[in-house]
């Protein structure tokens, strides 16, 4: 078993995977990674068939060592990354040797960075998931000195891979479909909502993110309504009309009215919007949304096709002289 040692943790660092769906009737939300696409990207880069459990790092990274050679993927919010002082490309997979020091700095944009080992994080699962859920006491925030068990890299010889840099870290437009409560809002309020450019407000966490604006989007028709099931992506209005987008760890039932639901594909953009970044809702019909919806499995297949081998800059190769550069005779397997 491979071990990851955390020599420094600068932000809130938790183990996350794709969560534990299927327990809504018992009051347990799915949870899991805030930016699910980052886990799909990591799986694609590492050649995995399904997303792996990863370290989710909010705002800042830390310092890490591994006791066995393993590939890692760095995805999500870009952070400065070095391995024994040599810069590493973000949104790429790299081989880390035992005792090499991986340093991840603060986020350059976005909020959540992900470090995914090729064998996945191998902490004990609970209800078939390793996702930490701090508010209900599942798992814990990782700190300096923690060691984390990892699965062994199934294919350490696989060449380092990169993906084109995604553009979901600076806010932008997110798509919303109508939901069960949309009809409780007046046309004027709905129109005003979709005409507003919001900023990601400072209030926000793994349960929900506040959309900041001077305008309010209240409805009196929601007085006394019974609580019903809520989920990630729902845009909920507080009593005085302040919108919150519900995220991975939202509660399962709620009584606030919801103007609509953000498409799952656009939730990573919300998760990665740092406070102050502009966010604009765009209304789409359910039919349009369904026509363009991609399953996460299909997304992973697409991402896998976009991966390309990393070409190393010779200037960063320290032991350049030890490479066989001239005669062209190698054992051949390094060309895979």
């Amino acid at each position: 078993m491979t071990t990851l040692s955390i020599r420094r943790a600068d932000g809130i660092m938790t183990v996350q995977d794709m969560g534990r769906p299927g327990h809504l009737a018992q009051g347990l939300s799915r949870g899991g990674a805030m930016d699910r696409r980052a886990l799909l990207e990591a799986a694609a880069l590492l050649g995995a068939d399904t997303p792996l459990a990863a370290l989710e790092m909010a705002g800042a990274g830390g310092e890490f060592t591994f006791d066995t050679a393993t590939r890692i993927a760095l995805t999500g919010a870009p952070m400065s990354a070095t391995l024994d002082g040599t810069p590493l490309r973000w949104n790429a997979a790299h081989l880390v040797l035992p005792d090499q020091v991986l340093r991840l700095g603060g986020v350059r944009s976005g909020v959540y960075g992900y470090l995914t080992p090729a064998g996945g994080i191998a902490t004990d699962p609970w209800l078939d998931s390793r996702a930490t859920h701090l508010t209900i006491g599942i798992g814990e925030a990782l700190e300096r000195g923690c060691t984390v068990p990892l699965g062994d890299d199934p294919d350490p010889e696989r060449p380092a891979m990169g993906l084109p840099a995604p553009n979901r870290f600076e806010g932008g437009t997110f798509r919303v479909v109508d939901g069960a409560h949309t009809a409780l809002f007046s046309d004027a309020v709905i129109e005003a909502f979709y005409a507003t450019t919001f900023v990601r407000a400072p209030r926000g966490n793994r349960q929900g993110i506040q959309l900041g604006s001077d305008a309010r989007f209240a409805t009196d028709a929601a007085q006394g309504i019974a609580s019903d099931l809520i989920g990630p992506g729902d845009v909920q209005m507080t009593g005085d009309g302040v919108p919150y987008i519900l995220m991975a760890e939202c509660q399962t039932v709620g009584g606030y009215p919801r103007i609509g639901t953000v498409l799952p594909e656009d939730l990573p953009l919300i998760a990665q919007a740092a406070p102050g970044v502009a966010l604009r809702p765009c209304h789409v019909s359910l039919d349009t949304a369904l026509a363009s919806a991609r399953s996460e499995a299909a997304e992973l297949r697409d991402l896998a096709k976009q991966c390309t081998p990393l070409i190393r800059d010779v200037a960063t190769i320290r032991d350049l002289l030890s490479y066989q550069l001239i005669s062209g005779v190698t054992c051949g397997d390094d060309l895979d």
Partner: protein, 245 residues
């Protein structure tokens, strides 16, 4: 009971779910319909249904993204129309829990207030609670945490205007004809009348969330000492007994 005929609405909930709603407000007839609809669907779930979760007056049905939406939609529509025709009382339970509770005193600081509002002695109010045929109406807000009801109309007590800043895990609180048995320490606007040693959510226990929507619930009087002993026994079931009916 509401006099208007009950209607069912089939509404979208995100891209992968429908919400079948029998009322907008917590109407008791709609509660029966929601529970009956969920029970019927659970018995023979159509292919492509991934998850069924009942709230008070609505049921969320989550689909496999590859499912035949229109086929499932038609099935849900037919089932909902059949359910609203009645009967609309809660369907018979398949399981019954008996949960020991200590009422009043430190464990139920608002029992006196609640009894006074009902024009009953504390003893008579507790008798009504323990005699009531109760059900888990829904589970939510926190993992495993049940909403239990319904008490008779006289118990339609408003929420307190002042929030109770903190009640402990296991607190039995009451408002609007319902009880909540808190899974963890919480602030609440409901009135605490008792305390259980039973814990509705214990991650290390199998199952971690033992209650199910529709379960029958009986509360049984216990002394404060009993509950203290059951709490320190490290039995997270807190003396609760489960019968299959």
């Amino acid at each position: 009971m509401s006099s208007a005929p009950l209607t069912a609405e089939l509404l979208p909930a995100g891209l992968d779910a429908y919400l079948v709603r029998f009322a907008l407000t917590p109407d008791p007839t709609a509660m029966g319909a929601a529970r009956r609809f969920a029970a019927a669907l659970e018995q023979t779930p159509p292919e492509g249904v991934e998850e069924i979760a009942a709230a008070l007056v609505s049921v969320l049905v989550r689909l496999d993204p590859a499912a035949e939406r229109e086929v499932i939609r038609a099935h849900l529509e037919d089932l909902a129309q059949a359910v609203v025709k009645g009967p609309l009382d809660l369907p018979p339970p398949t399981r019954r829990w008996t949960i020991p509770i200590t009422f009043g005193g430190e464990a139920g600081p608002q029992l006196a207030q609640v009894s006074a509002a009902l024009n009953l002695t504390e003893d008579a109010a507790v008798d009504q609670v323990c005699a009531a045929d109760l059900r888990v109406l829904t589970i939510g807000f926190a993992p495993g945490q049940p909403y239990i009801g319904l008490m008779p109309e006289a118990w339609n007590l408003p929420r307190m205007s002042e929030l109770n800043p903190s009640v402990p895990a296991g607190a039995l609180v009451v408002a609007v004809r319902q009880f909540v048995l808190f899974g963890a320490e919480s602030a609440t606007g409901w009135q605490q009348i008792g305390q259980a040693a039973f814990r509705s959510f214990v991650p290390s226990r199998t199952p971690p969330m033992p209650l199910r929507g529709g379960d029958a619930i009986r509360f049984a009087r216990a002394s404060a000492d009993d509950i203290a002993r059951l709490t320190t026994d490290n039995d997270p079931m807190g003396g609760a007994r489960l019968e299959t009916l």
